[in-house]
Symmetry: C5
Subunit: 326 residues, 5 copies
């Protein structure tokens, strides 16, 4: 079922019309002299798209891909139209990185976009269309498709920024007071980067294919813009790989600092035991019940022994300190 559909059309002469909550069937046939953007939210039934399938020549596999929510980002050129499937990412402060599939069909004079969830990143594009500022209304459907893809890719930078902040938080915790929470944070981050990576690499591939592709639907003037989006995806990948290296370095630091701290503890405890063991031995010696132990009856035997014990302890501690064990 389609939750909501909006239709915007604009032409070279500068006119622009927008309809919210349109019935899908009612927008056909498309006006071939104007650019039409059909923005569909919450598609769940294939039948709703069937009129498009026949009127615009959409391949059954494309319809299947649109309905299937676990697609890998990709770009497919069907000649009459180009199908683009992307993952839109955003950072939810509680859930971490969230993903939502966004699909586009770019035809000669139309773009159909399909969004699954409630998060909407096309507000900016919509506003630029309505205001008529910038070059958006002066260009064709391919430029509109670029603008939409660009909006999705730009969102990745926000996600990266948030992850960058998370990394900094964990690094501070790592210096201040590393604990189990820190370890959990590192592993959480590691997994998020893993998932991000899973959607960024094919994204790059898809955008790259769009840029290099031979599709006649994309005009030479738009290619430079696509290359720009492509550069952005590479930047995202670079940042991601750097983050991965940083996170794995953080894990190393965590493990070695935990093990260091534990070793320090054990060392101090062992030193305490080691200092007292010879003293206890001395006390044991003079606790023996031999009849003939001359020291026992000496007048200053007891204080002398206490002195000896103090000396032994002091010598041992000095030795440990000189060896830098303390």
């Amino acid at each position: 079922m389609v939750q909501h559909a909006a239709c915007m059309t604009y032409g070279a002469n500068g006119d622009f019309s927008e309809r919210q909550g349109v019935d899908l069937a009612s927008v056909l046939p498309l006006d071939s002299r104007r650019v039409t953007w059909l923005d569909i939210h919450g598609m769940t039934e294939p039948s709703a798209l069937e009129p498009f399938s026949t009127s615009l020549g959409i391949h059954p596999l494309t319809l299947e891909d649109i309905l299937n929510t676990e697609q890998r980002p990709k770009m497919e050129d069907f000649g009459d139209y180009v199908f683009i499937d992307l993952n839109m990412l955003w950072y939810d402060s509680e859930q971490g990185v969230e993903a939502q599939q966004v699909s586009f069909i770019l035809g000669s004079r139309y773009v159909i976009s399909f969004q699954r969830g409630d998060v909407d990143v096309f507000a900016g594009v919509r506003e630029r269309l309505r205001s008529g500022k910038g070059r958006l209304r002066k260009m064709g459907a391919d430029y509109l498709a670029y603008a939409l893809v660009d909006a999705v890719v730009d969102n990745y930078f926000l996600v990266l920024e948030k992850l960058g902040e998370e990394i900094e938080d964990i690094e501070e915790a790592l210096i201040a007071n590393p604990g189990r929470e820190t370890l959990r944070g590192i592993h959480h981050l590691k997994r998020e980067l893993l998932h991000l990576r899973k959607s960024v690499w094919p994204l790059r591939e898809a955008v790259g294919a769009l840029d290099r592709g031979e599709s006649a639907l994309i005009q030479p003037g738009t290619r430079a813009y696509l290359r720009d989006v492509y550069d952005h995806t590479i930047q995202v990948i670079d940042a991601l790989e750097t983050y991965r290296d940083m996170v794995s370095g953080m894990l190393d630091i965590y493990l070695s600092s935990i093990s260091n701290r534990m070793n320090e503890v054990m060392k101090v405890l062992t030193i305490i035991s080691t200092v007292f063991i010879p003293l206890t031995f001395l006390a044991g010696v003079y606790g023996m019940n031999f009849r003939f132990m001359p020291e026992l009856s000496w007048r200053w035997g007891y204080p002398a022994l206490l002195g000896i014990m103090l000396t032994v302890a002091a010598v041992m501690l000095a030795f440990f300190r000189r060896k830098k064990w303390l």
Copy 2:
């Protein structure tokens, strides 16, 4: 020996016939105006296929490959026919991931499929053929081959799902109560992913070769479908690589949590010893038999010492707590 063979034929005019338990020799010569699907189970002897070899021009090496059960997935174009060798995987709740070789010979008007074991994934294709729904009976042998390959690849997703559940189980165990069982589970999973990987990478190669291949046997309209299967194999590989990363992360968590727990135990034990050792020393001192030890004859010597001992223990514990060693 052939255990069972079924033969289905269908033509452009919509007629369809099916014969179960056919004798291989009896299906020859094939009707060149209809599509023939010969589905053979449990082949063990080369001689059974010899009539095909001569009538359909099958290369001796292909026959050898069909009989050899330890083949690597591959696609070979022999001009007159294309030979496809796949590993069908399924998840057995006791044995884990199991594999079975499935081979196809795709000719201009026929598909011969060879299955070794009892697991059958072609039931869906068979049903679609019998019912005549969908496009299957309207298309050629290449589309039938696509449908069979697709059925095999779709099964991989079921296997992945099961492995995903296994991973989740182990992750829960990892948080709740990691033990030797968890370690064994991780290593078991690791090995299963290794085996899966061994058959998925060449699968991708084989399907990719089919899609990109120049074979005249595959019509342009079928290529989009093959590309779709290819995308599925890439999705399988992506999931697999993510699983591998997750499993190796789980191993790290396991090892560090085990070592952490052990360290905690040793720390507590050592602290107990460390607290008692100075106390034991004090007791030893007043167990000495010096004649001149004034404290021994003091009226409150004993309770005073007990008080001192309590104080020493309390100070040490407070110190350890302040140092966060406890």
Copy 3:
């Protein structure tokens, strides 16, 4: 010096002749209407081959390569002939994986094979030639070369099988009773896989070059067979890489199980000490010589203390058990 040379010739009309212990010079000039296989064992002197060099146009570098026993597997196309250099591997139950260089010169109507050691894998090919069964005597020199290369590559599977058995043995030892022997076994296996890998990768390259090569000496009908050998080399590599992953997993298991066992031992020992230390302290307290210690003169002081000691020990052990430290 040539230790032994055998010469077999056969022609399209089905005749076949074999001579053992031939003098190299005596086989020249080769009969251009028949296929000649010259099988040379134990070559150590370049001069013995000089007649061939001039009569068949063998390049001096090829002669050098044949005499040099530490070659990397390779395939070189010299136009008039193709030079193939392989490592034959076998598994010696005492020495492990052993290697021996085998070289081939494939000309338009002849194959010269050079074997260094005593292990001979060409017995099967020789037998098929003598019996005249199969297609061997009906095909040209290129098919003979294929049969010889195939015999060498098939031997790799035997080696893999033996290594697979070794891996299983070590895995069992790893579960039953891991010790220093197991570690040594793992490292030995690791090194053998390393050496195997060193000869398998260039083998794949060499066979691949033969298959893809443009050499006019190899007829189209033989290419399918070469592709088959190529597939075998890939299978060997796949198995090898899987073995490597398994062995490195085994090392991880070994190390973590050893460290686990050691930790268990230390834990038990430390627990024993920890239980006795407070008890020893109590005994020390009542061994003190204070004049005023009322407990000492109580009638039931001694048994009461023993009871307290038992209680303390029991409580500690119960605590350790509840904490799952025991």
Copy 4:
């Protein structure tokens, strides 16, 4: 806002003029018979460049890239001009490796360079232009662009040298007295190499694209120089990768030496305890109050026991020494 702009022009006849602090608008139109170098510092507003955009046909995306300070090094050929974006690196003794973006627009007869910060590496090029020595004033704009890129890349070697010194310092500390500082130094170095790597790999790509590129703006004679710069970037990468390997080796050495030292400490402490524990036991035995202990009333019992204790201690120490535990 443009902080400072300098304009140098020179022609084939050897004349040369230089203006500091020019207004950007005033340099247009460029003299097409002379080479113009416009060196702009501290650009922050797009409007300042708009006259160039129209007069020289600069694409809006290029202007955006120039203003965006977090670009990845790249080279883009827009036909009429080539846009080059580099990271200039330098080593600040306090901050470590610092980066600053430097962009170039190379047209047929002009080069515009954009520098963001205060560090200036073009002093050498400027001097060579002013003095007229070398080939710089005799060549075209492409050679000027090469000279500027070369100046940036040469700076990388200075950075590498400084990092090399840092590595040597840490290595010395590693041998002399490894501590927490050393670990921090290693991780700092690791992160710096990570950042360096992030800008060097795309640098290589960009310079390589310039060298291999088909751009008509770059004359054949200049290509050899570009290849030279390209070789330099490869040398930087080689050094970088070697440094990375060295640093990861240093981390291994650090961790194993720390763990070794800790183990040594624990061993010595444990040996001290182990020697005294049997002695304390002996003292405990003769501290027992049995009425019938004949040794207690022997004349030489006490000295004999002391002798036994010394012997036990000596034997244990000798045993430990023979076992190389001490």
Copy 5:
């Protein structure tokens, strides 16, 4: 400054002349009908080469590369000549692997070689030229260049052999008596392999470019020889990678054996303590001063307790032995 230069010329008619200590300027112009080899040692000034630069058309960048001693091995084709830059390696028994840059300029009828240091590997080539044996004097300048490159590459095998011996020494030490020296040896070896690798990979690239290159200066007959050198560089790389794997395996063995030994020591020490602690407790019990302790006045109390102590110790040791802790 040029330290020493030697000039050899030879022609097709078999004549040969050699001059030692020539002045560079005096050898120009080169006799175009004969092959000239100019062997220059210890170049430090660019001016010395200027006559060549103009007479033979050497590019300024080549002169720069010759003087720059920290070049990466490379091959550059300048049309009129090919510039080859290699690292000559040798093994110094004290310093380990040492490197020296060797450069060649190969023109149509001449080779100029530049050596920096005192180590000379061209003695063999020089001798073959003087004696006139072999094909060297019958071939052109390209074959001479091959012979010189081959001499450099052959030296790598000597270095590998020495490193192989070092590896064997360390392996023996690893089995016999691993200590800090062994660790240092492993790290030293690791670093040497790192440096070797740094010069071998570009060497392979350079020789490969020479072999595959389109340069008209290299005649078809010489290509087979270059391919041979190329094979040698691949063999060097193979050996190197194997060594790297072996060394990293050795590090694993070292670390695990050190940690094993330490664990063994700690285990034995802990067992000694653990055996004595219950005994000391027993002695402590009978050292208590309770008035009513019936055992103290038993006739056989003391020997009975000693017997109990022995039993306890024996039981504990037996238990530890059965558990394989001893």
